[in-house]
């Protein structure tokens, strides 16, 4: 469409992705790609299919048809483990934390560190978790409390730490700042830019236009399961995006904003 892609090879290509639940079409032949060091905003109404699309990339949901390429190779992402082996990490909107376990147990859930004898290496997991969490939030305490007792912000930090600890190449952030206060939101923005500099590709689902314009290089708008446009962020303004989100089309008089200004 209108986007001009960066020159190097894409990290992720999602081609003609289709998902239906019985007769209900959730994602309708959507294609999108992601390059290293790029933040792509995925926008749309609730129920527009953006979370659904991202869940397929994170292996939490199967595709009805279409294919996903990671580094040019076809990736069959049947389970979340499959996605993780491809370096695709996800910060879920629900955070996906086991409430009765502590921060370290959650951070390493499914990928526990073990001693030589195959026992859980609690000491090392706690030390590593502490280092990872303090890096994101210097005030992080209560490492040994079950996460149900932690604040929304702390829980979010655990979910973020879990995604970046394992050296993600592709990061999916599903409304990462929804539960956060202003300072923590700024922290997530800083982090996003830092990860971007490290060459990580990021899909950012967000309803917050400030975040989108501050962080994204490109935006992709979904409406009723279809991709109604992928644009460089310079080529659109807030009204254009709102028009795409609500109507599914650009304003009638639209020309790429980047050229006019």
């Amino acid at each position: 469409m209108f986007d001009t892609a960066p020159t190097h090879a894409p990290l992720v290509q999602m081609c003609d992705i289709h998902k239906n639940f019985g007769g209900v079409v959730a994602v309708d032949d959507v294609s999108v790609d992601l390059y290293p060091g790029e933040v792509v905003g995925v926008l749309g109404h609730n129920g527009a299919g953006k979370s659904c699309l991202m869940r397929m990339l994170s292996g939490a949901m199967s595709l009805s048809s279409g294919e996903i390429l990671v580094n040019g190779e076809k990736a069959d992402l049947k389970t979340p483990q499959d996605a993780k082996t491809f370096g695709i990490e996800t910060i879920y909107q629900t955070l996906a934390l086991a409430d009765h376990l502590d921060a370290a147990a959650n951070l390493f859930l499914g990928r526990e560190l073990k001693t030589r004898f195959g026992n859980l290496d609690e000491t090392r997991m706690h030390a590593e978790a502490k280092a990872a969490l303090v890096q994101l939030n210097p005030n992080f305490k209560n490492l040994k409390d079950p996460v149900s007792r932690l604040s929304g912000g702390q829980r979010q930090v655990i979910a973020i730490a879990r995604a970046i600890y394992f050296q993600a190449k592709v990061l999916i952030m599903d409304e990462p700042t929804a539960a956060l206060g202003p300072s923590e939101t700024a922290m997530v923005a800083d982090l996003t830019l830092r990860l971007k500099k490290d060459g990580i590709g990021i899909f950012l689902i967000s309803h917050d236009m400030h975040d989108v314009f501050d962080l994204c290089d490109r935006v992709m708008v979904m409406n009723k399961g279809r991709n109604v446009g992928t644009f460089k962020i310079e080529d659109v303004n807030k009204d254009d995006i709102l028009s795409l989100i609500i109507k599914g089309t650009l304003p009638d008089d639209w020309t790429p904003r980047g050229e006019t200004s």
Partner: protein, 337 residues
């Protein structure tokens, strides 16, 4: 004892269930104290060993039940699986198999029943309550059909060894030629219970499978998204519960030196009660083997003490029912504050 001190002591517990466990332990000690005052025969070595022996069957069941309850499930089939395992062992021995392999196959039978429970729950997506209710009827029916509802007896002295033997039994020959038991010894079932409880606690607290069991019960979707194989974890828990039911079947039938196809009716409820009294939450994510052992001994001591005090079996049921509700109520109060 301060709260933080307590927490530090039990810090590898995934939840703050320390308070519940402590109150259960205090309840147990109070019960022992009360019964000792009421009856002088209660607080004796012999009676203590009897309680150990009586509790070992429920205790073994409660270890597996706890694992299943932590995943957020329930296993109603253990009483029937216990009987079926015993029947299989009895029939194999009648067919000429020696005791050890026959008992091993009995435990395997229990494990297979548990494995089937796990398959039905994860692959057919049937709730644990219904799936294990079905297995409860199936296993009981098979056990009764195989034996024609008749007990299998004359299995030989070696069959009774596991249930009736004891370690460090000291017997002295008296001058008149009769043996005198100086120390009756620690019954093998109690030793078996201790080993299995330690092993179960080790698996739950120190191994990956235990961590996964807690995560599945705490938030199944989160566990799945984190890369935990939820189905495999559940199947593992039900298989363990089935195998432990098989093992407790061996202990019970061996103690009777007879295989009874109608043994173990309602045992699942005692095992569930033991787990719940010990702090396990039927909502999943909470529980411990040590708590369940305290729970099993509360039930065992209550039964034994009430028997010695001459309380009728019916009133005993009433009292145990009240204890179960009281334990869960305490848990609710703890969670509310």
């Amino acid at each position: 004892m301060s709260d933080t001190e307590l927490k530090a002591k039990l810090r590898f517990l995934p939840t703050g269930s320390a308070l519940h466990k402590l109150s259960a332990l205090i309840t147990l000690l109070l019960l022992i104290l009360a019964f000792s005052i009421m009856s002088s025969a209660f607080f004796s070595v012999n009676n203590g060993l009897t309680v150990l022996l009586q509790t070992s069957v429920i205790g073994l069941l409660a270890i597996g039940m706890t694992m299943v309850i932590i995943t957020g499930g329930i296993d109603l089939s253990v009483g029937s699986v216990l009987a079926l395992s015993g029947v299989v062992t009895g029939l194999l021995m009648k067919a000429g198999l020696p005791v050890m392999p026959a008992m091993a196959l009995g435990v395997v039978t229990g494990g297979v029943c548990g494995f089937l429970n796990g398959l039905v729950i994860t692959k057919m997506r049937i709730t644990p309550f219904v799936a294990t209710l079905g297995m409860m009827m199936i296993a009981r029916g098979v056990a009764l059909q195989l034996t024609g509802a008749a007990p299998i007896s004359r299995l030989g002295e070696t069959f009774g060894w596991l249930g009736n033997g004891a370690l460090f039994r000291v017997v002295e020959m008296q001058a008149n030629g009769f043996p005198k038991v100086i120390f009756p010894g620690i019954p093998y079932p109690a030793i078996l219970l201790l080993i299995m409880a330690l092993f179960g606690a080790y698996l739950l607290q120190r191994r990956q499978i235990g961590r996964h069991i807690f995560s599945v019960g705490s938030n199944e979707e989160a566990a799945r998204l984190s890369g935990v194989n939820v189905d495999r974890t559940k199947i593992w828990a039900y298989t363990a519960s089935g195998a432990l039911a098989g093992l407790s079947g061996m202990v019970l039938m061996s103690r009777l030196v007879t295989v009874q196809p109608n043994e173990g009716v309602m045992y699942e409820l005692d095992a569930i009660a033991a787990s719940v009294i010990g702090g396990a939450s039927l909502m999943g994510g909470v529980g411990s083997v040590s708590g369940s052992m305290i729970g099993a001994f509360i039930i065992g001591v209550l039964r034994n003490g009430l028997n010695m005090a001459g309380t009728s079996a019916f009133i005993q049921q009433v009292i145990i029912g009240v204890v179960v509700i009281g334990a869960v109520y305490l848990d609710q109060i703890r969670n509310r504050k």
